[in-house]
């Protein structure tokens, strides 16, 4: 635990306040939510197709999806859709809610849904691969859309149902591929609860639409009349603003925030004790399995045993994250973890065991420098890369290098520029790296797809950076995709086999669960999500693609601090 001093609360008072309402240029503090941690620079576009860099709230607050996904109860939650069902094995029918209108007053219809999914036919649209197994879409009537599949990938389809923004056909229909992919989409017309009020270099201001359909249809209303999302260039600035109470929600990684949560600063997090945050994704150590000695599962296992994750969790993160289970499956997927497999094939930090495994596999220290050599006697000198500037990972990488050395494996941490790292990762010219590019989702399918995706290409862009090839595993992953999403047992059967393969072969080594960083100030808004009592259990997060995973619901549960 951290000793040290607990800083005293700042003397400053919240700015703004009731007196300011008279000023038209000033947003009333009690009706405005200030957030940060998603956007790191000027808002660039309001294009919901650009799910990775559109301005905060573009998808989720302005544009909406057919469904949301309830991470607590692990089920789809009808949103623009009133409901959806498989009418046969390869046909899915969506019923839309009646009475929804676009922000320009036009009615929202089945044609809009058809149009939006058909945008994926353009090669450069990110969900283009949907059309590898989707055959066609039919707007049966204004409220009904029918999707016909050549191959029904149930798991993936659910993901697509809550991930794809629906855009208005009447506005978008004449847009070229270039505009669809690269357009700024100024003045977006959406169905969502907010509209963009203005933007500036360092902020986006959203204003609630009081005619939003969900008010009546869902009986929900997001409480803040205004949301100001601030682009803070760095975490410490966010921390300063939180302390000044100019900020209500920070989705930044704020090291040492535990001290503030314990202190009297009016700051809260989901848990009021370690790990403080919900988990958002798994950080893995990715070995390049095409290189020696990482091509040897025994070596990878030894490496896994050598890593002192606990030290990283405690020293680097100050207990803001929790160590990952050997399977790496997020806590939300706990029901898929096969404890038998874990206890028989799992690994823990154990330097002695690591040494033992190395010795058993034939990696011995021949020249007496305390470091093992390859089976053929050549030196092992591995480098572990993380992007320069990613401080917590840099520290973690140093820690991994040190503990691996303890076990006799020579690992050096290096911090190339992000771009250079991406290139090495894509080309496969690395030894070890840390990666966490899969978030929580509706299905462990996405997790295993990342791990086992085949075929391994010349360039690996987003998945299977380890370049691990195992036909059986990939077949299992695809089988998993074809299990209906309500068939939990069927899914479990497959995932436990996948876990066996994972833990036997360790194509990636799960390290810890990165947090769903969210620190909230109670000075203006209360009823933030918390593990305690009947506070909301959703994530308080503005990150892109997380509104559908509970972020939006959180907004509806907030209460002004004064009430």
């Amino acid at each position: 635990t951290s000793g040290g001093s607990t800083p005293s609360p700042a003397a400053s008072q919240p700015q703004g306040g009731q007196g300011a309402v008279a000023d038209p240029g000033q947003l009333p503090r009690s009706e405005t939510l200030y957030t940060t941690g998603t956007q790191w620079g000027p808002p660039a576009n309001f294009n919901p197709i650009r799910e990775w860099d559109s301005a905060v709230g573009t998808k989720g607050l302005v544009y909406e999806t057919l469904f949301h996904y309830d991470t607590v109860n692990a089920q789809l939650k009808p949103w623009l859709a009133a409901g959806g069902a498989w009418s046969d094995d390869t046909t899915y029918e969506v019923k839309l809610r009646p009475g929804i209108t676009w922000s320009d007053g036009q009615p929202f219809t089945a044609e809009d849904v058809k149009f939006s999914y058909e945008l994926g036919k353009m090669e450069t649209v990110p969900y283009h691969d949907l059309w590898n197994w989707l055959e066609g879409i039919e707007a049966v009537d204004d409220q009904t859309v029918r999707f016909t599949f050549s191959q029904a990938n149930y798991q993936q389809w659910d993901f697509n149902l809550y991930s794809r923004s629906i855009v208005p056909q009447h506005v978008w229909k004449d847009r070229s591929e270039k505009e669809v992919l690269d357009g700024v989409n100024e003045n977006p017309v959406g169905t969502g609860a907010y509209k963009i009020l203005r933007k500036d270099q360092d902020r986006v201001v959203l204003q609630r639409r009081d005619d939003w359909w969900g008010k009546t249809a869902l009986n929900m209303e997001p409480k803040p009349r205004y949301i100001v999302d601030i682009a803070t260039p760095s975490n410490e600035v966010a921390m300063g603003m939180l302390l000044q109470r100019q900020l209500d929600l920070s989705n930044n990684f704020l090291p040492g925030v535990a001290n503030l949560v314990q202190g009297n600063f009016g700051l809260t997090t989901y848990y009021n004790e370690p790990p403080y945050m919900l988990s958002a994704n798994t950080a893995w150590l990715v070995p390049n399995t095409t290189k020696k000695p990482m091509d040897d599962a025994a070596f990878r296992k030894a490496l896994a045993h050598s890593i002192n994750v606990k030290q990283i969790v405690e020293s680097v993160y100050g207990n803001l994250v929790r160590p990952a289970s050997p399977t790496g499956l997020l806590p939300q997927w706990e029901k898929f973890v096969d404890q038998d497999v874990v206890s028989s094939a799992g690994f823990t930090f154990d330097t002695a065991k690591a040494k033992q495994l190395l010795a058993d596999a034939g990696y011995r220290d021949r020249d007496g420098d305390g470091l093992v050599e390859n089976k053929d006697g050549s030196k092992i000198e591995l480098t572990l890369i993380v992007p320069s500037g990613w401080t917590d990972w840099m520290e973690s990488a140093r820690s991994i290098a040190a503990s691996a050395k303890e076990a006799g494996i020579s690992v050096t941490a290096e911090f190339p520029d992000f771009n250079a790292l991406v290139e090495q990762r894509t080309e496969g010219n690395f030894d070890l790296l840390i990666n966490n590019e899969r978030q929580l989702s509706n299905s462990p399918y996405t997790y295993y797809e990342y791990m086992f995706k085949m075929p391994v290409l010349e360039q690996q862009n987003t998945v299977n950076f380890a370049r691990y090839e195992n036909e059986r595993a990939w077949d299992l992953v695809r089988d998993l995709d074809r299990v209906k999403t309500d068939d939990v047992a069927g899914m479990q059967k497959i995932t436990s086999q996948l876990q066996q393969i994972h833990l036997d072969d360790l194509p990636v080594i799960p390290l810890w669960y990165n947090g769903l960083w969210a620190q909230h100030s109670t000075s203006a808004w209360k009823n933030w999500p918390s593990s305690q009592g009947n506070a909301p259990k959703t994530g308080a997060v503005m990150w892109r693609n997380w509104f559908e995973l509970g972020g939006f619901e959180t907004l509806t549960q907030l209460q002004p601090a004064g009430s």
């Binding site: 003397a11 000033q26 000027p42 690269d182 201001v205 803070t232 991406v422």
Partner: protein, 331 residues
């Protein structure tokens, strides 16, 4: 005179050419593929889609043309004022990104440069050859110039911002404000501007004060000063002359220092999350946004060049020595 300006223009032209060329070379000859990182960020899995996207961006940025042609079209675009598209803030044109940020940077740099120059010079001139001031206050000047910009900035942000609560620590104006032509808004702008300005101002102030102090001491030792005091002229007059003569080299000093001050502004903006070019550059680096980096870099070079040029002209106008051709080595 003409020859002087011809030479100056040649130097500036050459500098610009070199800067632009280096600039152009950056994304093309440095490790790391900008398109790859764009594709990686888009989170695509399907090889076909990746290939399509790659081809699309390569075409967009002209990476598929022969190098010389890329170079020429770069110049062409540049002369049309087209800096290309930002990768990080895709698809915003770099020109727009910069244009949005520049007012903030200018608002920070111009007053801090000019005010620190004026106040520093005045102060240094006042302290020179005055024992008490020279020995007590000027060391503060040394300390100030020796302070790393960011250290002072962070201390100010923490002390006056977080602890004392006197100033905000981030942003160009209150996040609750909307830009209007109202006093409240202007005040708010000033309120946010104060700390970054102060940190830039203080560091630069010390440098000018010391420089001026030394110059004045030299001037006070000069023949004309001796002559004037031998004729019993009051020290007020002598100091006034000394000041005027010493200020002239400080003008050239100003040109020399511009680059340094721009650098200081960069760091300061980062500390205060001030939405100017500095924060942009940092993010451009972190996000490998070559085009944005190119644009900002060119913009800074251009700014410094223009400022230098203005200073050159001012210098020739105000210093009769340059006009008579006696100034010796040219600037």
């Amino acid at each position: 005179m003409r020859r002087y300006f011809r030479r100056k223009l040649l130097v500036y032209g050459l500098t610009f050419f070199v800067a632009v060329t280096v600039n152009w070379m950056i994304p093309r000859f440095m490790p790391g593929d900008p398109v790859a990182s764009m594709v990686a960020r888009a989170n695509m899995t399907q090889p076909q889609a990746v290939a399509a996207m790659r081809a699309y961006y390569n075409d967009l940025f002209g990476f598929d043309q022969p190098l010389w042609q890329q170079y020429l079209s770069f110049w062409g675009a540049l002369l049309r004022g087209d800096f290309g598209l930002s990768i990080w803030l895709f698809p915003t044109p770099v020109g727009t990104v910069i244009a949005d940020a520049v007012p903030y940077t200018l608002a920070l740099v111009v007053p801090s440069v000019l005010l620190s120059w004026v106040v520093g010079n005045w102060f240094g001139a006042y302290a020179a050859r005055r024992r008490v001031l020279d020995n007590t206050v000027l060391p503060i000047g040394y300390i100030l110039t020796a302070t790393p910009y960011m250290w002072l900035a962070v201390l100010l942000a923490w002390g006056l911002g977080v602890v004392a609560g006197l100033f905000p620590v981030a942003g160009g104006y209150s996040f609750s404000m909307q830009p209007t032509w109202s006093w409240a808004f202007l005040l708010d702008l000033l309120h946010h501007w104060a700390l970054p300005f102060l940190s830039l101002f203080l560091v630069a102030l010390g440098g000018w004060a010391i420089g001026m102090r030394n110059m004045i001491i030299y001037e006070l030792e000069s023949d004309y000063a001796n002559y004037l005091s031998a004729l019993g002229a009051p020290s007020r007059l002598i100091r006034r002359y000394a000041f005027r003569n010493a200020v002239l080299p400080q003008i050239t000093g100003l040109a020399l220092q511009l680059g340094v001050i721009v650098a200081g502004a960069l760091v300061t903006e980062i500390v205060f999350a001030y939405p100017g070019l500095g924060s942009l550059i940092l993010k451009a680096i972190q996000n490998s946004d070559f085009f944005l980096l190119q644009g900002t870099f060119l913009f800074i070079v251009l700014g410094v060049l223009i400022a230098n040029f203005i200073i050159d002209i001012v210098y020739v106008v105000v210093d009769p020595r340059t006009r008579a051709g006696m100034a010796g080595a040219d600037a």
